[in-house]
């Protein structure tokens, strides 16, 4: 009737497993020892011991906890289907929104959705609240949520914002000293791009991951929590869209690899103007791809 006893069940079954490796008549460790072994509080351990006693698995007198019989399969507790946490929810929900299984402007139903994602309604509510900072959903006056969704406007504004952040990153990157780790990373990335280009005929959809890795690397050098937070969302959105937009995928990716290589070369030359130009060029292509994909999928509202 309240929170799940998932923790208890898990610890309980782990303890059963421990007992299986013991001999009958052996003494169980102290409550504190068990608690730290199982990674739970003593309260949970005590509940487990109580159940063990009820099941006649152990006998307790004073501080002696003796194993009375071998545990069987029946002693194990069933673990109910575990609910997702808020982290797992994030990617699932965004995928759902970005896939546009729902039209924009739709009123969301917390109870229903929480079932769909198998999370507690409360978890979903909280998650929506945090998403509202990014304008994907909005709280309605008297309860309920409206999904603004991933509209064309949204895509354009997101792309522009990405532009702003990444050009700033480029500017800072250029000025980094020779011994900064980013230069190694770029070298590795360049090689990975060249490798992918070799096997582009078959492995072309591996580009989505590489693209994400590349942009993450560039933006990671900006030591700013706000930039980092946005980078997460941005990369998620672009990543998912790359995955779905299957039109001309091989062609697009091949072209993008070319742009990336140019971009890397410009960065390594430490030429700000060239690097900015290359970045701008690639980001524009990216934006165009994103917008086109939205338009062809009919999400023009």
């Amino acid at each position: 009737m309240a929170r799940t006893n998932e923790r208890f069940i898990e610890a309980h079954n782990k303890m059963i497993a421990v007992c299986k490796r013991m001999e009958i008549g052996d003494e169980l460790p102290s409550e504190n020892a068990m608690a730290s072994t199982l990674g739970v509080s003593r309260t949970v351990v005590r509940s487990i011991l109580e159940r063990f006693k009820d099941q006649a698995l152990i006998s307790i007198n004073a501080r002696q906890k003796l194993l009375m019989r071998r545990p069987t399969k029946d002693d194990l507790l069933e673990t109910r289907a575990t609910l997702l946490g808020i982290e797992e929810l994030e990617s699932q929900f965004l995928e759902w929104v970005l896939r546009m299984d729902v039209p924009a402007g739709e009123v969301l139903n917390v109870a229903q959705l929480s079932q769909h994602f198998s999370v507690a309604p409360h978890t979903l509510q909280e998650f929506l609240s945090s998403l509202s900072r990014f304008g994907i959903v909005e709280r309605r006056a008297r309860g309920g949520w409206v999904l603004h969704g991933f509209t064309l406007d949204y895509a354009i504004e997101l792309s522009d914002f990405r532009n702003l952040l990444e050009l700033n990153a480029v500017k800072q990157l250029i000025a980094l000293p020779e011994d900064h780790d980013i230069w190694n990373q770029l070298e590795v990335l360049e090689q990975e791009h060249l490798d992918l280009l070799q096997s582009i005929e078959t492995a072309y959809h591996d580009f989505s991951k590489l693209d994400e890795k590349f942009h993450m690397a560039i933006n990671s050098i900006v030591n700013n929590r706000f930039v980092a937070e946005f980078q997460k969302v941005i990369s998620l959105v672009f990543h998912y869209h790359f995955q779905w937009n299957k039109a001309d995928e091989k062609l697009r990716n091949t072209a993008a690899i070319g742009e990336h290589l140019e971009y890397i070369r410009a960065l390594r030359s430490r030429d700000l103007a060239a690097a900015t130009q290359a970045a701008q060029n690639h980001l524009s292509t990216s934006k165009r791809t994103l917008v086109n994909s939205l338009k062809t999928n009919g999400h023009t509202d």
Copy 2:
């Protein structure tokens, strides 16, 4: 035991007021009509009518609802102290954090805090979740929240991010056509700055508001929801800090007005280099003031 019947009570008392203006024997309007007049659902209206009948205020037969007696003060329902909504909470909470009534790294207690701010625990939880996007608080593994608070690092990163956003705004602003409203706004703002400078001896703490208005105006021309969202937080932080840092307030504000005027002049001249320079100059001062104020207040962790 569930949600508050605030809505019911409010509508009920409004209806009493309506009845007071009626004569005994008059007929009450239809449920639908009342519902739309009061702005509530028919369910609420029906609850009200039921209570009216219990109180012998009206008689109901078929569709005739007749007023039987004049309502008295005793018929009014007491409204319990209303809880705050999530919007009111935002400014209160930020003020509390920024004032640094709590040390950074503190573990927050939802139940306790919700009392302090007189909101439902649930509301606070949701709010914290949304704040976590800005890195002010962070969710801990198994429940609970850590307040990262407004540290020196945070201030620096926020200032840098502000810099990035505002310089971008400046760049876009310069390129706006002559008939854009922003040019009028700047002219008005310039005059307001000059006026304040006249009465600076006494009215120097009015600058905080003017500063906020000024920066808001500049950033408003960027049509981007992400920029707007951040602008809200940024302006809140700087605004509050201006209010508390009383050291040299008059001197600081006078100097800042000077910088603003220069900034406005540069913008109006449409000279990008000059405008960027002026903006940069003012933003640096702002950052320095913020950082200094944190240091002198001993929040150097």
